[in-house]
Structures are given as structure tokens and as C-alpha cells.
């Protein structure tokens, strides 16, 4: 399952935030959406998750327009937002069950799937703890487990490592890469941190609302004549 964006443009009032952005994700691959703060990453996520209404351009999921098939799209997409979206006072399991119910799963099914994900994420023993008692890295893992509960084929993560220390950031990044490899998930990982991106990744560089590069990390470096992605990112955006 993959997603295609064609000629996406978006503006807040007079301020353009996305300009003619087009790309198509490759099924089962890790994609890094790299851009400095304010590049338009969250707006793009807003459009992909239907929190923002399309103004111009089109989004297609497996060839079907997202606009006309919203329910099917939401079944196929799992999302981890930049800001925490967990109920801190509820337990880990209660949070997962709420999400399962929102996807129409019965209580029993929701619990079974929630426990299965938690086990896979080594968090089962924390199932009855309030989310408030978890550290930042574990909370993020719970959010990823929740996003995968309804078995989507596409996982969108909007700067999921914000607020985490270096070790947790690295661990989370590794974790999602493993999921991508093991489950064949298509992953779109937005970040402004070059160290979260590898040269073998498919990299999309967004700057001031425009997609400046799209392709294999190594190929982008070759095309730009740079030594590594950090240099490419700096050359293209002045950041990094």
C-alpha cells in the first residue's frame, strides 16, 4: 500500500506553506521527510491525516483519492503525532483500548491486539501503569504500538523524537526501522535531525514548502556532488 501526492499546495491565509509538492512513497520502505523547522512537514502531515482539508492538488492511497475514500484511508494509516496524544492519567492498556474502539474493534479484540503489540514492544508489564509513570521514550513506544493496533500498512510519524534524549531517539529510530523491515510497513518519518536519516533511506527534503530533493539518500548526495547527507541538507537548505 502506498501513497501518492500530486501538486499539493497549501496556504494559511496569504502565507504559502506548501508549493506544488509531488511524491509517491515506495511500499514497504523507510522514508525520511527531512526539513528544517517551518519547512511545511506538519502541514503535509495534516493533509495526509485529513486534519487539514486539501486546498490544491491530490492525495491518492493505493490509487484511490483520499478525499473520496476517507474511511479506507484511515484504516490503512497509523499516525504518531508530534505532540503527545495519550491520556496521561489512564493506563497504557486503557489508552490502547480507546484507540481500538475508535477503529470499531470489540473490547476483547482490542485488548488482545493491544497486549500483542505491547509484548512485541517489551511493554506488556507496564500495561496497567498510568502513562504518566512512563518515561518519554516509553510513551513514544506506546504511541507507536497504538498506531499499529489496527494493522495499518502505512505509518506516519511527525517528529516522533522531539523531547527525547539522544539514546532514546536512537533507540526509537532503530525500533521503527525494524518494524519496517519485519512487517513490510511503509514508513514516513518526519524530522529536522540529520542523524536520524541514513543514506540508504529514501529521502525527501522539504524546505520553505518546496520539495528540493526526492530519492535514495546516496543518489541525492551524488547528484548534489556532496560527501554526505548532512552536507547535502546544508547545501540545499542552509540548515543542519
Amino acid at each position: 500500500m502506498t501513497i501518492e501526492a500530486s501538486n499539493l499546495s497549501f496556504r494559511y491565509g496569504d502565507r504559502p506553506v506548501l508549493r506544488e509538492v509531488s511524491f509517491a512513497l515506495t511500499s514497504g520502505r523507510f522514508h525520511a521527510l527531512l526539513g528544517p523547522n517551518g519547512a511545511g512537514k506538519s502541514t503535509l502531515f495534516g493533509l495526509l491525516t485529513r486534519l487539514l482539508a486539501l486546498q490544491q492538488g491530490e492525495l491518492r492511497l493505493a490509487g484511490q483519492s483520499l478525499k473520496h475514500q476517507p474511511a479506507e484511508a484511515m484504516r490503512q494509516i497509523g499516525v504518531v503525532f508530534q505532540q503527545n496524544a495519550l491520556d496521561l492519567d489512564l493506563t497504557v492498556r486503557q489508552n490502547l483500548q480507546y484507540h481500538a474502539a475508535l477503529h470499531g474493534l470489540s473490547r476483547k479484540e482490542g485488548r488482545a491486539r493491544g497486549d500483542r503489540e505491547l509484548e512485541r514492544f517489551n511493554l506488556l508489564e507496564r500495561a496497567n501503569d498510568a502513562v504518566r509513570q512512563l518515561n518519554g521514550g516509553h510513551r513514544r513506544r506506546v504511541e507507536i504500538a497504538r498506531a499499529l493496533l489496527h494493522e495499518p500498512s502505512l505509518l506516519l510519524l511527525d517528529e516522533p523524537t522531539v523531547g527525547l534524549d539522544v539514546a532514546s531517539r536512537k533507540a526509537l529510530n532503530e525500533h521503527v526501522r525494524t518494524l519496517c523491515e519485519e512487517d513490510g510497513l511503509t514508513v514516513l518519518w518526519a524530522t529536522h535531525l540529520i542523524e536520524e536519516v541514513r543514506e540508504e533511506d529514501r529521502v525527501l527534503i522539504l524546505h520553505q514548502g518546496q520539495l528540493l530533493a526526492d530519492g535514495n539518500g546516496q543518489a541525492i548526495c551524488d547528484a548534489e556532488g556532496t560527501r554526505d547527507l548532512a552536507e547535502t541538507f546544508h547545501a540545499l537548505t542552509g540548515a543542519g
Binding site: 485529513r50 486534519l51 484511508a73 484511515m74 492519567d89 474502539a101 475508535l102 473490547r107
Partner: protein, 267 residues
Amino acid sequence: MKAAHYWHCFVGIQTREWLRFWQQRTRFASALVRPLLWLVVFAAGFRAVLGISIIPPYDTYITYETYIAPGLCGMIILFNSMQGALSMVYDRELGSMRVLLMSPLPRPFLLVTKLLAMGVVSIGQVYVFLLLALLVDVEPPLWGYLAVLPALILTSLMLGALGLLIATWIKQLENFAGVMNFVIFPMFFMSSALYPLWRMNEASPWLYWICQFNPFTHAVEAIRFSLYLEWNPMAFGITAGVTAMLALLATAGFRPQRTRVLGSKPA
């Protein structure tokens, strides 16, 4: 999507609201202080000033406490609904709203279910308030407690939808103080919650008509009549009609980008 999916979703949203209520029960208990102060202190002071004649649905002279109790039930729902709606799009509930809106079920269904779930918690508070009101001799008939339930559900949905509509579309009212001054107090004072409208008509005919056009007046009357096992088709009809209209407007017109659901500063 099958009916079972809708049902599981409905139950899930209700369950979460009750779990949160249980986690924050002290906050909910303190929310009862306001209507109780009105009932015990304000009503005691006003009882001496205001004479109440025999008006339907009451069949005898009643105390002022008895008169304002239904209005205070409305007030509990009014405060909760406005606070709840604001928290959905600006505040505590933002995270849960993001998760809610990622559901594959239709948005109007999700939003109405969410408003109903918040309403059910308000209604729980109304019942606790009515039990405490027994202490100041507000004693509606026993079946009245059951008969009032539909009016309470309609009122909570109506006011929740109004709150969501305001929170989505009126930027100037994104904080509770603004909503209190420009929505809650005018709606409450320009209604039949604290004084019968015939007295308002004597004092000021134009204010009387404003009260008549205020849907909260009809919600309070629907609560009052059903609590005393009387049928008031006009109050009920207007409340139901306004509820349907507001629910439609609030859910069809909901735009996450006009709120903070997406994040504080999307870029």
C-alpha cells in the same frame, strides 16, 4: 463499516469519558459547589424578595429553591458543555481529539458521540445535585427523576454542539473567561432559570422576548416540566429542533485547522 463497528466505537468513547471522570472526580465534585451555592445561599436570600405564584407545572405555591432547581440543572450542563467543548479544541482534550479524528468512522458520528459522552458525565452531576437538593426540600416526584432524562440528554447535546460551534468559529472566545462573559452568563440570566418569564414581561417586555428566543429557556422549561411529570411540547420541540440544528452545524462545520487539534502552530 458495520453497525457493530459504530457500537464498539460509541462504547469506547463513553468508557473513556467515564474513566477520565473517575480519575478527576475531585474536580467534578468541586464543580457542584457553584450550583449548590446558588441553591442554598442565593435562593435563601431571594426567597424573601420574590413571590412565586402558582404556575405550571407546579400545582401549589412553591419555594424559590424549588423554582430554580431545574434552572441550576441547566446551569451545570451549560458550564460543563462550554468547558468541555473548549477543552476539545484548545486544551486538555487535544490529544484525545487527534486520536478521535483518526478513526475511520464518519466525523459527525464521532463528534456527536464525544459530545454525548461528555453530556452523560454532566448528567451524572445533575443527578448528584438533585439528590443534594432534597436537603433543601426540593422534592420532585420519584418518576420525575427518570422522566427528566431525555430533556437532560437533549440539553447537554444542544449546549455541547453550541460550544463546539463557538470554539471552532469564534477565535475571540477561545478562553473560558470570554465564553463565560459572552455566552454562559447572558444565556443563563436571559432565561427562565432564575425567574418566571411572566415576571420578566412585567419588568421589561423586550427582555421577555429575548428570553423567549433564548433556546436555554426552553431547555430549562423542558427539564422543569418533565421533572414534575408534565408534558410541555413547545419547550421540548424547540429544544429538540435547536439541538438537531446545532449538532448538524457544529459537526458538518467542524474544521480541525481552525482549532489547535493539529498543533499549536502548524507549519
